[in-house]
């Protein structure tokens, strides 16, 4: 189509072109209601996490203070989600749990990216023996059952949330390596990379400036989807007693205790569960939305 518009053809792009792309992305996000909902919920969750001390009516109980006179109360105006077996306000605990979950997601995904992406980049771009060695190494970690790893780390370093996060990060990075290596390998042959090589650009510069920029989108999509999976996995570990330890208000841990009171106090497990579902759902929606947006076929600009 003509009309006097020229599309920006360079691999890097000028600043105004980048801004235009960003505005277009935002437009696509808003067009898709589900993705908008996802983004809004994620933003809301981060706000809840940051403002936890303000939102929670009983912040000290969230962190462990008990009140044995108020055990296992049904939801009421005083205690929106009811109380647990130690009399602690569940609403406050769930709110503080948001902090923990978001912290886990951010930390683990960042760590996994930090390890996985450079490895994949180097493997994909360099090729040859380096590629083989890195990929074998990655395969080994991929075949390692993540739960076993978490159990081993827990046994080795003690059971704590931080150790659980380390083990999840160790189990997760291979996925990014594989993902980015695949993209890099297909990009490696593209003419614009050859052109860069021809004019003498150093391999380091090629990798960071050209290759990385163009292979990041599937990684970003995967990372947002993984945020939810990581939260689920860490909750699973806490559920098994390997992650967060009492009295931390981590959702998985709360659900673990709630199991025992399922009959007597069904609300006990309902609310933390719902909190988890909403969080994971929101990140999944965001990830799905990002995937659609970054798909070149949907971007018709």
């Amino acid at each position: 189509m003509g009309g006097g518009r020229r599309s920006d053809l360079s691999a890097g792009g000028s600043r105004s072109a980048a801004l235009k792309q960003l505005k277009y992305s935002v437009y696509l996000i808003r067009k898709n209601t589900l993705t908008t909902v996802g983004f809004s919920v994620v933003i809301a969750l981060f706000l809840v996490a940051i403002l936890a001390p303000v939102i929670a009516p009983y912040p000290d109980q969230a962190l462990g203070a008990t009140d044995m006179s108020q055990t296992l109360l049904k939801p009421s105006w005083h205690h929106l989600f009811g109380t647990d077996e130690m009399g602690r306000d569940l609403f406050s605990r769930v709110v503080y749990g948001t902090r923990i979950s978001l912290w886990i997601g951010t930390l683990v995904v960042s760590l996994a990216l930090l390890i996985g992406v450079p490895l994949g980049l180097i493997a994909g771009y360099t090729g040859g023996l380096v590629d083989e060695v890195i990929m074998r190494f990655t395969d080994i970690f991929l075949s390692f059952p993540p739960l076993l790893l978490a159990i081993a780390v827990a046994a080795l370093l003690g059971r704590s949330l931080n150790n659980a996060m380390i083990s999840i990060a160790i189990a997760w990075w291979p996925w990014y390596t594989r993902l980015i290596r695949g993209t890099v390998v297909s990009l490696r042959e593209k003419p614009f990379i050859e052109a860069a090589k021809t004019i003498g650009t150093s391999p380091w510069r090629i990798m960071t400036r050209h290759v990385l920029r163009n292979s990041l989108s599937p990684v970003i999509v995967q990372a947002s989807l993984d945020f939810g999976s990581v939260v689920l996995t860490s909750a699973a570990l806490s559920f098994l007693g390997l992650g967060a330890q009492p009295p931390q208000p981590e959702w998985g841990l709360i659900l673990n205790t709630a199991r025992n009171y399922f009959l007597v106090a069904p609300w006990y497990s309902f609310f933390p569960g719902m909190a988890m579902v909403i969080t994971v759902l929101a990140f999944n929606l965001v990830g799905d939305g990002l995937r659609e947006i970054t798909d070149p076929k949907t971007r018709r600009l």
């Binding site: 589900l34 190494f137 046994a155 689920l232 559920f239 199991r259 929606l285 076929k297």
Partner: protein, 336 residues
């Protein structure tokens, strides 16, 4: 094609060796004393030393590793410190329970997930599409143990239709009438034409399998929908329509065949994820499978058992990857 398979197999063996080394090192580092466990809580120093010698713990690490590997190649995975049985026999006892659960769960996942994906792609943007997508997203977002607990409440406490846990009802277990040929209860009871056991096993299998299937259903439906939508926009589908080929042929013969590739890969990958879920499900439903065995093995520092389990899982992963690679190579465009 055969060279391809051989190459992938060699790769797999290297991976298994790598995993075994890694795990072995972990078991060496884990600070629990298997000798104490073996000798018993009342052992004195002399008995402990003897136990250590028996278990070969006094040898250098490399020797221990080599000994272990030679044992494995003969089919001997060592003796479990906790159960005092050969690990191989322990595995044979517990694996079928988990395997049956996983297989049935995955079958359910395919039977539900594939149609969901196809329907939502064909009726894009309709209410069916939104319903299917919602189901898929929920499937991948629900915490397994939460889902398991709620299903128990619904089907056991409120409706009373299905049992709470275990593989078989108490009275059958007590009577000891359950057949045990392969360890797969459904298969065994069919082979021995034992109707009571079959239906009882099925009832017990239902909730755990459905819980397990939730995540794969979501994943398969999502992936299939997106692949199918992409393929439906391709030129050759347009050409097929331009020549008036019947709708069925276009959907299944032209579109679906091209869309299945990524879906299969994703499905195989989530089998790995299901392993974590299986542990949780076995915990909630009191299922006597590998999950329980593993948890006990680790908490008691039962390193032969840990090695055996890890090796088994690594082999499963490798085989799975191999199958996926072969399936992908069946695409005529892939030069192999």
């Amino acid at each position: 094609m055969w060279t391809f398979i051989v190459r992938r197999l060699v790769n797999g063996i290297l991976v298994i060796i790598g995993v075994s080394i890694l795990t072995f090192m972990l078991t060496v580092i884990i600070p629990s004393d298997p000798a104490a466990r073996w000798a018993g809580p009342r052992a004195n120093a002399e008995q402990l030393a003897k136990a250590r010698e028996e278990l070969g713990l006094d040898q250098p690490v490399l020797v221990r590793y080599v000994r272990y590997v030679s044992g494995v190649l003969r089919g001997d995975l060592g003796t479990s410190i906790r159960t005092r049985q050969p690990v191989m026999r322990d595995l044979k006892t517990y694996i079928p329970a988990t395997a049956e659960l996983v297989i049935v769960g995955m079958i359910i996942a395919l039977l539900v997930g594939v149609p969901l994906g196809i329907w939502s792609a064909l009726r894009k943007d309709s209410w069916i599409d939104h319903l299917c997508r919602a189901t898929a997203v929920f499937g991948v977002s629900l915490p397994t143990f939460w889902l398991a607990m709620n299903l128990q409440v619904l089907f056991f406490r409120w409706l009373g239709w299905l049992p709470l846990g275990g593989r078989l009802s108490g009275f059958i277990e007590a009577a000891g009438t359950a057949p045990n040929i392969t360890g797969f209860l459904l298969l065994d009871s069919l082979l021995t034409l034992n109707g009571t056991v079959f239906f009882d096993a099925l009832k017990h299998l239902l909730l755990p399998a459905v819980t397990l299937a939730a995540y794969p259903i979501g994943l398969v439906a999502k992936q299939l929908r997106s692949s199918l939508l992409e393929v439906l926009n391709e030129d050759y589908v347009r050409v097929a329509r331009a020549y008036g080929l019947p709708q069925r042929l276009v959907t299944y013969g032209y579109a679906l065949r091209n869309a299945l590739g990524p879906t299969i890969t994703v499905f195989a990958l989530c089998l790995g994820y299901s392993l974590v879920n299986t542990f949780l499900i076995e915990a909630v439903f009191n299922w006597p499978g590998l999950g329980n065995y593993t948890a006990l093995a680790v908490t008691t520092g039962d390193y032969p058992a840990i090695m055996g389990i890890t090796l088994f899982i690594a082999v499963v992963y490798v085989l799975l990857n191999l199958i996926v690679d072969v399936l992908i190579a069946l695409d005529p465009r892939v030069r192999v």
